[in-house]
C-alpha cells in the first residue's frame, strides 16, 4: 500500500524544503531533477539531496513522475492555489484561532503593500460579498 491514486486529499502538507521544490515546479512546469536543482541555487544543497527529496515527495503523493525518458520528469501533483489554501487554513487554525480578520491584518502588516495591491484586495472582497448573499 502506497502509490496512492487519489487526486490529492491524502497528500500531506509540504515541509519547508519540499515547498521550495514545489515553487520551482509550479514556475517551470514538469522538470527533471537537474533542472530543479540548478533552479535551486539559493539552497546550497547537493544534487542527490534534491533527487532524494523529490523521490520522497513522489512517495508522499506530492509529485508525479514520468519515467519515459532517461531523465525522469517530475511534476507537482497539487496546484499551487490548492496548496496555498491548505497552508493558510493550517496557519489560521494553529496561530489565529480561526480569525480570518487577524490573518489579513497580519498579511498587510508583514510587509509594505502597494496601493494597487490594496485595490485588488478590495475587488476580492467585493466578490466575496456577492458570493455570500
Amino acid at each position: 500500500m502506497a502509490k496512492s491514486t487519489k487526486p490529492f486529499g491524502n497528500a500531506p502538507l509540504p515541509t519547508e524544503a519540499e515547498l521550495a521544490i514545489l515553487q520551482i515546479l509550479w514556475k517551470l512546469g514538469p522538470s527533471t531533477v537537474r533542472e530543479v536543482h540548478t533552479a535551486l541555487q539559493s539552497r546550497r544543497t547537493g544534487y542527490t539531496t534534491a533527487l532524494k527529496q523529490m523521490q520522497v515527495m513522489t512517495e508522499k503523493g506530492l509529485l508525479t513522475r514520468s519515467e519515459r525518458y532517461r531523465s525522469h520528469v517530475y511534476e507537482a501533483r497539487i496546484p499551487q492555489e490548492q496548496t496555498q489554501l491548505l497552508l493558510t487554513r493550517n496557519l489560521l487554525q494553529r496561530a489565529f484561532d480561526g480569525s480570518a480578520k487577524d490573518l489579513v491584518l497580519g498579511a498587510l502588516s508583514a510587509q509594505p503593500v502597494s496601493a494597487s495591491e490594496l485595490a485588488e484586495i478590495r475587488k476580492m472582497l467585493d466578490r466575496f460579498e456577492k458570493r455570500n448573499s
Copy 2:
C-alpha cells in the same frame, strides 16, 4: 551562554506543539504547567511532555518562568500579535512569493467569512490606505 535577556528578536519561531502551548498562555495569562496541560485536552499528551516542552521553550526564550512559588508559573515572552506577524511573514515568503494579495485570498477562501468580519476587514483596509498616503 544561554539565558538570553534580550526582548525577543532572537527567539525562534515556535514549532507546532510550542504554538499550541503559547495559545493557551496567551488566553489564560501566566499559568502553571498543570493548568496548561489540562487546557490542552486536544493533544492527548502526558503531563511530563508539557512540562518538558515548557522548559525547553524557556531555554529558547519563548517563555519566562517565575519560581517564586512551589509550582512554577510560566508566561509567554512574546505577544501574540508579534508571533502572528512573524508566522505570517514566514508563510508569505515560503509559499506566496511575497504576494500579500494571494495570502488574503487564501485567508478568505480557507473558511466561510461572515459579513461582519468582511466589514471589519474593509475598515482595516481603509486604515492601511491612509497610512500609505
